[in-house]
Assembly symmetry: C2
Homo-oligomer: 212 residues x 2
Amino acid sequence: MDQNPELAQQITAKVVERMERSKTQIPIGVSNRHAHLSQDHWDVLFGKDTQPRKFRAVKQPGFWAAYETIKIEGPKGEVNNIRLVAPHRPKTQIEISKTDASVLGLRPPVRDSGQLDGSAPVRIIGPKGTIEIKEGLIIARRHIHFHPLEAQAMGVKDGEVVRVRAGTGGPRALIFEDVLIRVSDKFSLELHLDTDEANAAWVKSGDIVNIC
Amino acid sequence: MDQNPELAQQITAKVVERMERSKTQIPIGVSNRHAHLSQDHWDVLFGKDTQPRKFRAVKQPGFWAAYETIKIEGPKGEVNNIRLVAPHRPKTQIEISKTDASVLGLRPPVRDSGQLDGSAPVRIIGPKGTIEIKEGLIIARRHIHFHPLEAQAMGVKDGEVVRVRAGTGGPRALIFEDVLIRVSDKFSLELHLDTDEANAAWVKSGDIVNIC
């Protein structure tokens, strides 16, 4: 190190950046199973000339959970009460846990939201009709939402992956590898996990994690 | 280090031990929800003068899964098809996932098998009767079974805790902290996870993990 002050400086800067990251308190948001429908699919499942009704806000700005729910069916079983998130999207996307997938007897892949090519098929049942979609069923990849200002302060970039320590002090502490960072001025700082991941780490919405 | 050859030796020995540990391939056994009943509870739920019938062996020597299943109920819902593991035990113990606990609306603690003091109450329904137990519902603490010879080879002791890297190369790699080591000449090398933990790491029975 004495012979290489430049390297020492680089390492020091990296260590300082890591210390800064690891100090930041990141709240968890646990995503329960939910569905985004296309307008066409809504029309079949709930009827044309009807609209979803707002149940409550979700943290992602502009979106809200609806009173309406759907049922989905696979070869082994069904999962009820999958809440719709509105407004509608161009393509139907249903996000479930691996536990749900086992109940259904289906094998959806782990995917980033919107990456639906080759995802799993499923039958959707609404009060007014039934649809078989060829793809759209996924298990959401865990990720952290950052506002650009937060990302800048912590020295992270959109698309980067980090490690996250969760459940520290509890009975099931663990480190999630490969946690994707998503940066958008519509986001605020939050780690999104599904119910299997939250249960495995013994954490719930609002609990704090750190990048490590 | 030059001034302290003893310390250097200790560190080297520790590093060699860690390298040895991390090379050993440990298979996963995923535990689905299941129940051990006391004889008294069996009698009420299934009827005196009846016996559980063997469905298949489980990896733990001397125990087997029965054809018989029970249903359990909590304030929010019920969970069906909880398979019995025989032979009976002195105390009834029901092991479920946190996902199941959410369905039931109950809050069982994470516990080592047999540590039932102050665990959760639950209502058990069998074909011949119903029981309310005051305690016995738990979420099993993850652990690794070692035969004494395997434990000796890896330099680990009963009751020690280690870190385990799981799901490497998959979409949800993670590191489980605080994994308990259990050593018994009735055990063979296996990491026991519940379904939430297996789903969070995207692993299944027979997949390989390493201590890290």
